[in-house]
Each structure stands twice: as C-alpha cells, then as structure tokens.
C-alpha cells in the first residue's frame, strides 16, 4: 500500500474547561484526501476537538499539526482549514455572493478571479442564480449549501464539519449526505466530519473514530468497527449487539470457556484472557442461530418470547433463564417455532467478539490500536 500523507496529527491532545477534563489524551492521524468522522454521543468532546483544530479553542496539553506545522498559538485565520457550522453561521447582512466571497475578499484576490471562483462554487452546490439572495430568504438546506460553498471556495487543506446536517429533515439529510460524499471525492479535500448519527457516519466515512467521554475508543473503517468492536461501548453504540457477561476458564493456552449465570461456552480459541477474568461476549442479531436440539460447545438454552415483524425480516426475541433478552434475525419464509418453545442458541465462533471488561486493559488496547 502506498504511503499516505498525514494531513492532521493530534498528539496527546488534552482539553480542560476549568477543572472538567473534556478531551482526554487524543491521538489521531488524518490522511490527505480522507473522509474521517468523529462519532460519539452528545457531550463526548467531538465539537471541542474540532474547535481545537480550527483554532477556536487552545489545547490544554499536547500538539496539533496541520500538514506537519505545529498549530500552537496560531489564530483561526492563520490556519489553512475552514469550518462548516451546524447553525450555518451565514452573515445576515450579506447576500449569498458576498458570503461566499468573504474569505477571498480577505485574501485580496482580483475581483474577476473572485467572481469566477464564487460562481464555480455556486455551481458546485447547485445554487446557480442565487447570488443576490439574502440568507433569510433561503431554506435550511440551501443555507447549508451556501455554508459549504463559502468554506470550500477557499480551497482549505482540511474542511471541518460540525454536525452540518443536524438541522435538516431526514429526506434532505440523506440527499445532502450523498452530495457531500461525492463532493469530497471529486475535490479530494480532507474532510473531518462530526456527528452523533451512526448511520450518517457509516455511510459517508472512509474511517470512523468512535469517541466516548473524551477518548477515542476505536478507529477504523465502518466494516472494521461493525465487525470487530473493541469495547462494549462500541459494540452497543454501532448497530445492535447481544452482549453476554461471563467469566473465563482457561482450558489450555489457546482455548477458553466462558461461564455465564445461565450457561456456558466451551472450546473458544482465545489466548489473550486470564483465568477468572470477567469478559463480554458480543454477537450481532444476524449471527445468532437457534436449534431445537442441543449444540456442541454452546450451552445456552432459552425460550422464544415473541416475534417482531419488521418488513423484510422478523426479529425473534429469545429469553435466557436470567431473563436477559437475545435478539435473532429470521427470514419471513422460514417456518418459525411457536412462542414458548425451548431453543438452543449458537453462532459461528468467528462472528462473536470477546471483549475485556477491565478498563485499564481496554485503554491499553485502544492506545495501541490508535498509535499503530
């Protein structure tokens, strides 16, 4: 694989607001031309991270490099990045043309050149003919296009987007998602995108950084993260997971058993766990299967509690003896046993993810994963 150029580098970035540690030692490399998304629940520090890169906030500790230049002490106007704000932040006293030309005017480009660039930018976001409009005369979607054009027209090294589609309705949001993605691919500009919407992140991003409580818990492609979550938080946050909590019993160096309150898994190939360690076993609903006869190595018995019909699929809810619910995805064509039937649950061992519960170990793993 060719060597990719690092466009933004965060090194041990920490941010305190007063005594409140909001960002806790973030390390992150963002490559040139990449679409990277910071995804996490509200309040986890995404906006703060973005604002430190833009220069609106100063990192308390650590360094931020843009194209190999340390940004410390550089005001926003001296950084070659531009931001698309969630509330658009269009200048209400200027029309669309002047809004988009704002940065170019400040660079003192010749008028003709500004005009050409602004008109190109308008074409790019499909707003030809809107030059004279005031922001107050436009819809939310149109305003957001102007905000995107106003940022991109400066040809920044990185475009920072903070929940740019958050205020739009679902249909428009879907449409803008694909437009943004195409725009990014066409222009080849590095995008750092912030959202709390996992579906948005999964559909648009080259890589996703999952943030939780000021840390990056996992960094990887959508598929990576979906198939191999590194923590219970990620397994829970991205898609749907059945998570079982149990204790490890080592059989030998390469195999373990996991004991639950209500059953046991045997013969699992895993070496990174110690005896008596508490772990989570996480399985996606589409990977859980059932049988009406016992299954080798899987001692998990339950009863079918109910079926939920969801169009193209049926969700079976099975209840374990401790009344934990397990979700299974079934095909509507299958002949399904009646509710109340006893069943044995099993899955392809490759499809289950074993997760440490020990926080220290977890964060060691995360640091390793992020630093590598």
């Amino acid at each position: 694989m060719e060597e990719k150029k690092v466009m933004i580098q965060l090194k041990n970035v920490v941010k305190f607001f007063g005594r409140h540690k909001v960002v806790k030692s973030i390390n992150l490399d963002i490559y040139e031309g990449e679409f990277l998304t910071l995804l996490g629940p509200s309040g986890c520090g995404k906006t703060t991270t973005l604002r430190m890169i833009a220069g609106f906030e100063e990192a308390t500790e650590g360094e931020i490099y843009l194209d190999d230049v340390n940004m410390e002490g550089k005001p926003p106007y001296a950084r070659d990045v531009n931001t698309v704000f969630q509330n658009y932040a269009l200048f209400p006293h200027m029309n669309v043309y002047d809004n988009i030309a704002f940065g170019l005017v400040e660079k003192k480009l010749p008028r003709a050149e500004i005009r050409e660039k602004v008109l190109n930018a308008l074409e790019m976001v499909q707003l030809e003919g809107f030059e004279k409009r005031k922001p107050s005369q436009m819809s939310g979607g149109q305003k957001q296009r102007v905000a995107i054009a106003r940022a991109l027209v400066n040809n920044p090294k990185v475009l920072l987007l903070d929940e740019p589609l958050g205020a739009l309705d679902l249909k428009l949001r879907k449409q803008m998602q694909s437009e943004l993605k195409h725009l990014q691919q066409k222009l080849g500009i590095t995008f750092l995108y912030v959202t709390h919407d996992q579906e948005e992140a999964l559909t648009m991003s080259d890589r996703i950084a999952i943030m939780n409580q000021g840390r990056i818990e996992q960094l990887g492609t959508a598929q990576d993260i979906y198939e191999h979550p590194v923590s219970k938080f990620v397994a829970d946050f991205i898609g749907e997971s059945n998570i079982l909590e149990g204790y490890v019993t080592k059989t030998d160096d390469a195999t373990i058993s996991v004991r639950f309150e209500f059953g046991q898994l045997d013969g699992i190939a895993a070496s990174e766990f110690v005896d008596e360690e508490m772990i989570y076993v996480s399985v996606r609903p589409e990977h859980v299967k059932y049988s009406q006869k016992p299954v080798k190595d899987f001692h998990l018995q339950g009863i079918i509690k109910e079926y939920i019909y969801a169009g193209s699929s049926i969700r079976m809810i099975a209840e374990l003896p401790n009344s934990q619910e397990i979700i299974l995805l079934c095909h509507p064509q299958d002949t399904l046993p009646a509710t109340g039937t006893d069943i044995y649950l099993y899955w392809n061992p490759d499809k289950a993810v074993l997760l440490h519960t020990n926080e220290d170990k977890l964060y060691d793993l995360i640091e390793d994963a992020v630093l590598k």
Binding site: G55, F56, Y77, N82, L90, F102
Partner: protein, 288 residues
C-alpha cells in the same frame, strides 16, 4: 347572517373599546390634541397681549426664513449632529465591552449607566457648573498649585454646551448599541475568523455592520432630544441661542406664539423625517 354579524359586532365592540379606549383617550388627550393645538397656533396671527389672535395667517412660517432663525436652526442642527457623533464614538467601546460581560456584571453596569437619570438633569448640570466654572473646583485647584495664573474659561462656552449635551444623552446611545451588539451571534464572529479575518477586520466586516441598527437607533435617540433641549445651553452656554431656547423665548418673552409654534412644527418635522429615515434603513435590511 347580517344580524348575526351585527350582533357579533356589538358583542365585541364593548370589550375592545374598553381595552383600547383608555389608551386611545390618553393618546388623544396628551399627544394628538397638543399637536393639533400647536399646528393651529402656528397658522394664526401673533398678538402682543394674548400671544395669539385667532385670525388665519401664514406670517409665522414666512418669519422663519429670517436669517437669525435660519442661523439658529443651523447651529442647532450642527450641535445635535456633533453631540450624536461624539456620543457614538464614546459609547461604542463601552457598549462593546458591556456586551461581552457576564449577565450579572452587565446588569450592574447598565444600572450604573441609568442611575444618574434618577437625579434631575438640572441638578446634575449644576454640579458640573460647580466643577468647571471660573471659581469652580478645577480652576481653584489649578490656580492653587500654580499651573495657571488666571482661571481657564470652560463654563459658559460652546464647548461646555457640547459637553453637557454629550453627558446628558450618552446613555441613550449606550443602551441601543449594547442591545444590538449583544444580539450578534458569536458563531458569526468565529466564521469571520475562520475565513481569514483578524480581530480588527472582523470588527470592520461583521461586528460594525451588524450593529448598524443600534447605531442608527442611538443616533436618532440622541439627535432628536439634543435638537430641542434648551436647559443645557441655558446653564452651560454663553448667550448663543439654540432652537430650544428660541422656541422658549418666542413663547415666554417675545409673546410671539405663532412663530414659536411654527418652529415647533419644524422641529417635529425634523423628528419625523429622522424617524422615517430610520425605519427606511431598518426595513432595507433584515438586521434588527
């Protein structure tokens, strides 16, 4: 149908009248009636004994074109304009700092701005007179330490009038400016910095234009009262007359009510023109 509408009309008329009535009556009594009265006097004949004789005449309006009136009008306009501009320049930085304060501190500072209003303006100006007149605090002090050998002439000058005007009307500039600057969305300032503007350029390109409603409103609120104020130049000024003094004199000492009324009408016309201009500028942009 018709009767029902009539019924509803009757049903609604009384409550509406009872709500609008007192306000309407108040406006009629204290606003419309005096205005009409002034307008009426302005088109009558002057009388040395009664101030006005109820015979129609446009003599008073013709008399306005006397060069002495024109000069006084001009002086007053210039002084009001100077007052407005000095107030604007003095108030802007203060209003800007105010708008950046935490709400509690801001409230306290605004209270300090308003506090002098609870003391009669004449008394406050008298206080200033004590400070700046020939035998006042400043001159006494400077004479005492020997910097000057004869008192500085500050009191009873045009400068003192201008100072008194600015002092009196400054809060009318600070308040609308402060409101207007506070309303600017902070993310607009961030957007400006993001797009390459330093603090100064952000001020010029974003903050100043977005505080235009406050600037216009402040200028109007200072300009209009300073055009008509007479007591400030009475106390602080030499014997240069301003519109306010002239109107007062025409009514009180010269007993030429029609001319006084005509000048008042002129003053009201200036005010309305200023307000018209303001609302026109306001509706040109959706700033406010």
């Amino acid at each position: 149908m018709n009767t029902r509408r009539q019924k509803r009309y009757q049903k609604n008329t009384i409550p509406i009248l009872s709500m609008v009535g007192p306000t309407g009556l108040w406006l009629l009594l204290f606003l419309a009636f005096p205005m009409v009265y002034v307008l009426a006097i302005s088109v009558m004949t002057k009388s040395y004994y009664h101030g006005v004789e109820w015979v129609f005449s446009l003599e008073s309006y013709k008399s306005l074109f006397q060069s002495r009136y024109l000069k006084i009008t001009w002086d007053s306009l210039v002084l009001a304009l100077k007052t407005s501009i000095i107030c604007l320049v003095a108030a802007y930085p203060f209003a800007y700092i105010l708008s950046k304060m935490r709400p509690a501190v801001k409230g306290f500072c605004l209270l300090l701005v308003m506090l002098p209003f609870w003391i009669n303006g004449l008394i406050r100006l008298d206080g200033w007179a004590n400070i700046i007149r020939d035998s006042g605090i400043i001159n006494t002090f400077l004479l005492h330490i020997g910097i000057i050998s004869k008192p500085l002439r500050m009191f009873k000058t045009d400068g003192a009038v201008l100072f008194g005007m600015v002092y009196t009307f400054l809060p009318f500039m600070i308040l609308p400016l402060q409101t207007s600057i506070s309303k600017i969305d902070p993310s607009l300032i961030e957007a400006s910095r993001d797009l390459g503007c330093n603090k100064f350029r952000t001020f010029v390109r974003v903050i100043l234009p977005l505080s235009a409603p406050g600037i216009f409103s402040g200028i109007i609120q200072v300009f209009i009262p300073s055009l008509g104020a007479f007591y400030i130049s009475d106390i602080m000024g030499s014997n240069r007359l301003l519109l306010g003094n002239l109107i007062k004199n025409l009514f009180m000492s010269e007993k030429n009510w029609p001319a006084g009324a005509a000048l008042s009408v002129l003053l009201i016309a200036f005010t309305l023109a200023a307000l018209k201009l303001y609302s026109k500028i306001g509706s040109m942009d959706d700033l406010a």
